[in-house]
């Protein structure tokens, strides 16, 4: 039996009295790739931000390698965050610095050190996401949205963290690029043994990269199962969602 890497138990979060997460229970196993699907605004990104300590959950517990991490501060929070890489939905690249500084930020923490070595590392990581070395010295604003996304992906994988969160890694990419990213995520999980948690609206991608899929609806995980069951889950909500029908139980 695989050991649990992340366990969410009764995770709840409201904004201005509106419950976004309302008792989320979810386990991510070590070395597993899990995809979360769910409607826009259902709280997928909020879930990731709670785990990373960027948002404080109102209640519930988050275990990382068996350790409670809700409310962690200071050096302990730093140590916890060192295990994670995060691809933000909007890329969140630092627009005041060139691409290569962005990609190596997790290694330099913004210090101007080791220029030559860092450029080399940046180049290698960009290559993994299918970007050429000629963009090393450009600024994020000089790249297309899809390229920015891939630079952000390179930044997230550069320190080879144990766990990577991908918030919509293929949104905004053409189908070929999207598949390159799918392959990359698969190889990170299979070859490097990282644990991956991916938010996606792209069912093809979910089926390719994830071992298991979970669906978030009205603040709870209403279904989880292996990827081959995605299209015959027997759950009317999941059916409606994956088939993209306007009629059904989800209004």
């Amino acid at each position: 039996m695989a050991e649990a890497k992340i366990v969410l138990d009764g995770l709840s979060k409201s904004f201005a009295g509106r419950a976004v997460l309302d008792g989320v229970n979810l386990t991510v196993e070590k070395g597993e790739s899990l995809a979360i699907i769910g409607q826009s605004g259902s709280g997928k990104s909020v879930t990731l931000k709670c785990i990373l300590g960027l948002l404080q959950p109102d209640s519930g517990s988050i275990l990382l390698d068996g350790e409670e991490i809700v409310g962690a501060k200071g050096a302990r929070l730093e140590r916890i965050r060192a295990k994670f890489g995060m691809l933000f939905q909007g890329s969140a690249l630092f627009d005041s610095m060139p691409i290569w500084r962005n990609v190596t930020f997790a290694l330099t923490h913004g210090q101007r050190i080791d220029g030559a070595r860092m450029r080399k590392i940046a180049e290698e990581n960009l290559e993994r996401v299918g970007l050429p070395a000629r963009i090393l010295d450009l600024r994020p604003s000089e790249l297309s949205g899809g390229m920015q996304k891939r630079v952000a992906l390179a930044r997230a994988i550069a320190p080879r963290p144990e766990i990577i969160f991908f918030d919509e890694p293929t949104t905004g990419l053409d189908p070929i690029r999207a598949d390159v990213i799918n392959d990359l995520i698969v190889s990170l999980v299979d070859d490097l043994g990282i644990t991956a948690l991916t938010i996606t609206h792209d069912m093809a991608s979910a089926r390719k990269i994830a071992h298991r899929v979970a669906m978030l609806y009205e603040g709870k995980i209403i279904w989880r199962g292996p990827r081959d069951r995605l299209y015959d889950s027997g759950n009317p909500y999941v059916d409606q969602f994956v088939q993209g029908r306007a009629e059904g139980p989800i209004q």
């Binding site: 931000k49 990373l52 300590g53 960027l54 730093e78 965050r81 060192a82 994670f84 890489g85 995060m86 933000f88 939905q89 909007g90 969140a92 690249l93 630092f94 627009d95 005041s96 930020f105 997790a106 923490h109 913004g110 210090q111 101007r112 930044r155």
Partner: protein, 265 residues
């Protein structure tokens, strides 16, 4: 029956109370932000490159604007004193009033306001944009402390650059007055400089430098604080920028008055 008039009586007090509590809470938040910025900024890791970059932004690139402001103000002041003074044949006070007016008040205040307009707004816009585009969240997940990396270099650079800029502005302002007096009003250059020298006092310069450091502190603090708290997309960043500049202006003018009143009161 009695509820309505009673309400009418209580409501204004409730409103005053609410805004008072709001003000106190805001002061508390700013104080906490200041404390974190200073305490984190004084402990490693340090970011010398960021600090140097901010010195360039705040100090160096503001110099043209500051220089122009100072030279025009010095000249205008000389003209005004001359015109007003000639009514009771006191034109000879021009160099004295120019030097005192520039060094004690106009130099620091004008530099403070010009730099606040340039720098508080830029800081609030930059940090606010980082907030709404999740760059601050990204910074945290990449384990870099925003207070050390973004706020402290700005705050320390502003506290250091403003006094230097005020020194420059004071010199240029006095030069502006001299230029106008000699070129247009027919003063004798050597006499003018003599009087100027007699009225330049080290105490006045010290006060000007203290004022400048205080203004620099407020300029960076307001830019960083309002940027950090920005929310709600582009409109939120716009709001943060406006609030940063307005509050920096108020704090500069208010603290200038307090320092002047304390020193001369």
């Amino acid at each position: 029956m009695t509820a309505a008039p009673l309400n009418m009586l209580v409501l204004p007090f409730a409103a005053i109370g609410r805004s008072l509590i709001g003000l106190l809470a805001a002061i508390g938040r700013v104080a906490r932000f200041t404390g974190l910025t200073i305490s984190r900024g004084l402990t490693p890791p340090y970011y010398p490159a960021r600090f140097a970059e901010q010195i360039a932004h705040i100090g160096w690139f503001s110099l043209p604007v500051v220089g122009l402001t100072a030279v025009f103000t010095g000249a205008a002041l000389a003209q005004q004193i001359f015109t007003a003074g000639s009514r009771f044949s006191a034109q000879s006070t021009v160099p004295a009033v120019v030097v005192i007016g520039i060094v004690r008040e106009l130099g620091p205040v004008l530099v403070g306001l010009m730099v606040a307009g340039r720098v508080s707004s830029a800081m609030a816009a930059e940090i606010g944009t980082m907030r709404v585009t999740e760059q601050l969240d990204a910074l945290a997940t990449l384990r870099t402390d925003a207070y050390r990396y973004l706020m402290a270099p700005r705050l320390f650079a502003a506290i250091l650059s403003l006094p230097l800029m005020v020194l420059v502005a004071n010199a240029i302002g006095i030069f502006g007055g001299w230029l106008l007096a000699v070129q247009k009003l027919g003063f004798n250059s050597a006499n003018y400089l003599n009087v100027t020298r007699r009225f330049v006092s080290w105490d006045d310069f010290q006060m000007a430098l203290v004022k400048a450091a205080v203004f620099g502190f407020f300029i960076a603090l307001m830019g960083c604080y309002h940027g950090y708290r920005a929310g709600g997309g582009a409109a939120g960043v716009g709001n943060a920028t406006r609030t940063a500049v307005v509050s920096a202006f108020m704090l500069i003018l208010g603290s200038n008055f307090l320092i002047t009143a304390m020193v001369f009161g």
